[in-house]
């Protein structure tokens, strides 16, 4: 089993073309020859950036739950709705399916995402060697499902745009919607920053600064050499 990094190769993140990191181009930051995307063997400072976005997301989740995401006014009576309150209203209206969808999108998915990304990050930092396959699948699911939480923000936006019927009924978005949107975006960025390839690295190649001189293997017939990373320590 050889990884691209162990052979001194880098796959372009955009077009997938494989490039050999070569000595001649040491001065210039490596770019894909074909599509000019910036190349890196592992996402630069993956762990730190992922933790940072995750922390921001968790912090934003508190005001998202405390402040109302929308304010409903029916015949002059204003009532603020929080995220969890919206779920209970739907549940009492006996539209269980939608209630469950809302609950999943606004509570279950964000919280699970916090837990999943934290677990993945800790598992990389502690260099867990077990269940790499399952953790990769966990990452894939996290990445896929995260953006669907945005549905809550869109529901608020649509309701606020539609229900503006003079004195009868009016719905206005609340500050909690911004906080919730921020949570979703930050956790998406956190998942994007996390490099799943780190899950598989025995000697983690964290960081962007690969020591080209040691990683390059100019003689194609020689045995592949181990990549030496000189990035930041990440513990």
């Amino acid at each position: 089993m050889l990884t691209a990094a162990q052979c001194g190769l880098v796959a372009c993140p955009a077009c997938g073309t494989i490039t050999r990191l070569s000595i001649e181009r040491l001065d210039a930051p490596p770019k894909c020859q074909l599509c000019f995307a910036r190349l890196h063997s592992r996402k630069p400072m993956s762990i730190q950036r992922s933790w940072a976005w995750l922390t921001a997301g968790i912090l934003a989740y508190l005001p998202a739950n405390i402040f109302p995401i929308m304010v409903t006014t029916v015949f002059g009576d204003s009532e603020p709705n929080t995220i969890i309150g919206g779920f209970f209203v739907l549940w009492e209206m006996e539209s269980y399916l939608i209630a469950i969808v809302v609950f999943l999108a606004s509570v279950v998915v964000p919280v699970l995402k916090f837990l999943a990304v934290s677990y993945l990050l800790i598992s990389i930092q502690r260099r867990f060697q077990h269940s790499k396959y399952d953790r990769t699948r966990l990452f894939r699911m996290t990445e896929f499902i995260g953006r669907w939480s945005m549905i809550d923000v869109f529901v608020v936006a649509i309701l606020a745009a539609l229900v503006q019927i003079g004195s009868v009924a009016q719905i206005d978005p609340g500050i909690g919607a911004t906080a919730f949107g921020a949570t979703v975006i930050f956790t998406m960025l956190s998942a994007l920053a996390l490099d799943p390839r780190l899950l598989w690295d025995d000697k983690p190649a964290e960081g962007n600064r690969i020591d080209h001189r040691q990683s390059v293997n100019p003689n194609r017939d020689a045995q592949p050499t181990e990549l030496v990373a000189t990035g930041q320590r990440y513990e």
Partner: protein
């Protein structure tokens, strides 16, 4: 099942395994581990690295409609889609038309006891423009309108010249934009958000669906279809194919061939795409 079989294969089973049935192929034993010497010798164009675990594989040709997966982590490496530029173009143009229609007509209309109010897709963005919400409005504008539009237009920008054998500048930049914007294009989420809003209001008010609602539904179906037909990988294959051809033409005109060494003259490169 899948997973077990691929795991077993990767753990040193050396003989050639027959490729999988039901439209899924694993590149069995093409993972580099079993013959690590050959990988170092093989040309870079014939290699593919898993984008999720970095394992190197040798590319093989796969049947139309099947998927090449990583032997170690099961991620999709590449897909041989039953596609042609013509079909992708047709769907792309249709999606763009639907996008325009969806933004010209009312999306939903509500009426309660004589009063009525209608909204278009953009008005959801404007509804968020209150105090402390303008940032959210800006971001939603990107997610619902701007990024999907850039993506659709970009796809046409790449595909149209390919269809007519021309080259437009900065195709690489457009391609990269499409790749990086794809997680942030959320029309389908907006559509499901509209459905949730409908259900919420259905018991209290009378709601009509506008033309734009149906156009938007079609837009989402077409987007899904175009993703079925052409993914980022095969799109890049088209581009690099055209690039290579034009480079070969240039090389034919003057004898300076030093420039096109990197562009994979090997036959092995044109796998997976049938133009």
């Amino acid at each position: 099942m899948e997973r077990n079989s691929s795991k077993r294969d990767s753990s040193g089973n050396n003989e050639e395994t027959s490729l999988d049935c039901d439209r899924r192929q694993h590149i069995r034993d093409r993972s580099i581990g079993t013959h690590s010497r050959t990988i170092v010798e093989s040309p870079l164009e014939s290699l593919v690295a898993c984008h999720e675990c970095d394992l190197l594989h040798e590319k093989i040709e796969i049947e139309v409609g099947s998927v090449a997966r990583c032997v170690r982590c099961d991620a999709t490496l590449y897909v041989n889609k039953k596609n042609s530029i013509d079909r992708a173009l047709a769907v792309g143009v249709a999606a763009l038309i639907m996008f325009v229609i969806a933004n010209c007509f009312p999306f939903l209309k509500i009426s309660v006891s004589g009063n009525s109010q209608s909204m278009s897709i953009v008005s959801a963005v404007f509804a968020l423009s209150g105090e402390g919400l303008w940032m959210l409005a800006l971001v939603s504008f990107g997610f619902i309108l701007l990024f999907p539009l850039i993506r659709m237009a970009g796809l046409l920008y790449i595909l149209l010249p390919l269809r007519f054998n021309r080259r437009l500048p900065r195709v690489e930049f457009v391609f990269r934009s499409i790749v990086y914007l794809s997680p942030w294009s959320m029309t389908e989420i907006y559509f499901f958000g509209a459905i949730v809003a409908l259900v919420k209001l259905a018991s209290m008010a009378n709601i009509e669906l506008g033309y734009s609602f149906w156009a938007f539904a079609l837009l989402n179906i077409l987007t899904a279809a175009s993703l079925q037909m052409i993914d980022n990988h095969s799109l890049w294959e088209y581009i690099s194919e055209a690039k290579r051809r034009s480079l070969e033409n240039e090389a034919g005109e003057d004898d300076d061939t030093s420039g096109n060494e990197g562009y994979g003259k090997e036959e092995g490169r044109d796998f997976g795409v049938t133009v």
